[in-house]
C-alpha cells in the first residue's frame, strides 16, 4: 500500500492539485469512472470548505483495506473556528442555505462521514468510500 498523500490547501490551485491526486489514487485502487468523479468531487468540496471557513488546512488521501475490501479515505483537517452544531450540517435545510454543495452533499458522494470539531480549535472531516 502506498503512503498517504498530504496536500496543503492554501489557494484555489491547491484544490485542483488535491483533486488530481485523489482521482489518480481512486483510479489506482480500481474505482470506475463515475466513482472516480464522485471521489474527486468530494475532495473538491472538502478543500473548498477549508478555504471558505478556515482559510487554510490540509487534505489527506489514503488507500485503506479492511476485511479484504479496498477503499479510499479522505480527511480534511483545519485549525479554523470549528463548528457549533455538527448534527445540523448534515440536514438538508442547513447545507443548502450555505454556499457550496455542503457536507451533506459530500456525505452522499461517499459511504461514510465522520466529523470532529472543537470551537476555536478546528475541524476534521473524514470520509470513506469502499470499492463495491
Amino acid at each position: 500500500m502506498r503512503d498517504a498523500r498530504i496536500i496543503e490547501i492554501v489557494t484555489e490551485l491547491d484544490i485542483v492539485t488535491a483533486r488530481k491526486l485523489g482521482r489518480d489514487e481512486a483510479k489506482e485502487i480500481g474505482f470506475n469512472d463515475v466513482d472516480q468523479s464522485r471521489i474527486t468531487t468530494a475532495i473538491g468540496e472538502l478543500a473548498n470548505n477549508i478555504l471558505l471557513y478556515a482559510r487554510a488546512g490540509k487534505i489527506v488521501i489514503e488507500e485503506i483495506e479492511e476485511n479484504g475490501s479496498k477503499g479510499i479515505a479522505i480527511s480534511s483537517i483545519d485549525k479554523g473556528e470549528g463548528m457549533k452544531e455538527i448534527h445540523r450540517v448534515l440536514e438538508d435545510d442547513y447545507s443548502s442555505a450555505n454556499t457550496g454543495a455542503g457536507l451533506l452533499a459530500v456525505k452522499r458522494l461517499v459511504d461514510s462521514i465522520d466529523i470532529q470539531s472543537k470551537i476555536g480549535k478546528g475541524t476534521t472531516v473524514k470520509v470513506v468510500k469502499w470499492l463495491s
Partner: protein
C-alpha cells in the same frame, strides 16, 4: 447494474440501427425504470459511454474524453436529484405528522350543533389547509340558555390551530352557557394575552341566547360584524362593536348589547374568511351574503349556511384564501 447496462446497450444499438420511434419510446420507458432504481444522471452517461464503446471499436479518444467531462459535471446534477428525493421523503413524513395533528385537532374541537326546540341553528366551518384556524364553540344548558362563540385566530395552519386549542380550553373553563358575553371576552382576553405570542391575535364573537325570552345578547372582540335580519322591517342590520382583538391589552373592556329575535328573524355570524375578497375590491361580499340569505331564508339554518358556502366558493373560483366559517341562528 450489469443487467441494466446490457439492456441499455441493446436498446441503444437497436436505435442506432434503424432510428425508429418505437426504440425511442422503449428507451424512455427504460429510463423510468432506471430512475426507480435510483440510477443517477452521471451513471446513465457512464452506461451510455460504455455501451457506445462496446458497439463500436473505432470511437475517437476525443469523443470518449468528452463523455468523461460530461460524467464529471453531471455529478452535481446527481447530487441535486438525491437532495430532491430526500426532500420528498421529508415531505411525506411531514404530511403524515400533519394528518395525525389534524385528527387530534378534530377530536379536541369536536362540538355538536345543539338543536333546541325554539330556534334553528346551522353551522359550516371549512379549513383552508388541513388545520382550522376558525372554531365554533356551542354551550347549551337545557333549560334556558344557549351560547355560541365564533373564533378566528389571525393566521392560518398549525400555529393558528395550536392557539385555538387554548381558546377552546378557555371557553371550557367558563362552563356555563349563562355567562355574560362581555365577561366571557374579558376572561378570555386575559388568558390569551398572558399565554400566547405577541404576534398572535384572536377575534371572537360571543352570543348568548335566552331560549325563554328570545333575547340575544352579543359581544365582539375585533370580529367581523354579524348580520341581523329583521323580518318586521325586512332589513339587515350590522351588529357592530368596537371591542379590541383578544390578546392585545390585558385590561381591555368589552360591552354587550341585546336584540330580541322574532319569528322570521335570523343572525349570521361569520369569520373574515367569508367576507374577504383579496384583490377584488369591486365585490361587496356582505351585500352578496345578504342577498343569498334573503333569497334562501325559507330553508333551514343549516341549508342556508351550505348555500352561502357553495355560492361564495364559486365567486372565489373555488380557491378560498382563508378558513371559512358561518353560523346562522334563525327564529
Amino acid at each position: 447494474m450489469e443487467q441494466i447496462r446490457k439492456q441499455y446497450k441493446k436498446i441503444l444499438s437497436d436505435y442506432i440501427g434503424n432510428q425508429s420511434e418505437s426504440d425511442l419510446y422503449i428507451g424512455q420507458n427504460f429510463i423510468k425504470r432506471m430512475i426507480q432504481k435510483n440510477v443517477t444522471p452521471e451513471e446513465v452517461i457512464s452506461i451510455h459511454k460504455r455501451a457506445l464503446e462496446e458497439i463500436y471499436d473505432d470511437i475517437p479518444e476525443s469523443v470518449l474524453h468528452g463523455y468523461d467531462f460530461l460524467i464529471e459535471v453531471m455529478v452535481h446534477f446527481g447530487l441535486k436529484v438525491q437532495e430532491h428525493q430526500a426532500l420528498l421523503a421529508k415531505q411525506e413524513e411531514l404530511r403524515i405528522e400533519m394528518e395525525i395533528a389534524t385528527k387530534i385537532q378534530n377530536l379536541l374541537l369536536e362540538n355538536e350543533i345543539p338543536s333546541p326546540s325554539c330556534v334553528d341553528i346551522g353551522m359550516i366551518s371549512v379549513p383552508l389547509r388541513k388545520m382550522n384556524g376558525d372554531y365554533v364553540h356551542f354551550m347549551h344548558d337545557d333549560e334556558r340558555y344557549l351560547s355560541v362563540a365564533v373564533t378566528d385566530v389571525v393566521g392560518k395552519g398549525v400555529p393558528a390551530a395550536l392557539c385555538m386549542s387554548m381558546v377552546k380550553y378557555g371557553l371550557d373553563t367558563l362552563e356555563y352557557a349563562n355567562s355574560n358575553p362581555s365577561y366571557v371576552l374579558e376572561v378570555l382576553n386575559r388568558i390569551i394575552e398572558k399565554s400566547i405570542d405577541d404576534s398572535m391575535f384572536v377575534s371572537l364573537c360571543y352570543i348568548r341566547y335566552n331560549l325563554q325570552t328570545n333575547v340575544l345578547t352579543w359581544s365582539s372582540a375585533g370580529h367581523e360584524p354579524s348580520l341581523y335580519y329583521e323580518e318586521k322591517s325586512q332589513s339587515f342590520h350590522d351588529l357592530e362593536s368596537k371591542g379590541l382583538l383578544l390578546g392585545i391589552l390585558p385590561e381591555a373592556k368589552y360591552t354587550q348589547q341585546d336584540i330580541e329575535l322574532n319569528s322570521g328573524d335570523f343572525v349570521i355570524i361569520m369569520t373574515d374568511g367569508v367576507t374577504d375578497f383579496r384583490n377584488r375590491e369591486e365585490i361587496d361580499s356582505r351585500q352578496i351574503i345578504k342577498e343569498l340569505a334573503l333569497a334562501n331564508r325559507h330553508l333551514t339554518a343549516q341549508e342556508m349556511c351550505e348555500v352561502i358556502y357553495s355560492e361564495l366558493q364559486k365567486l372565489h373560483d373555488f380557491k378560498l384564501e382563508d378558513d371559512f366559517t358561518v353560523v346562522i341562528i334563525k327564529k
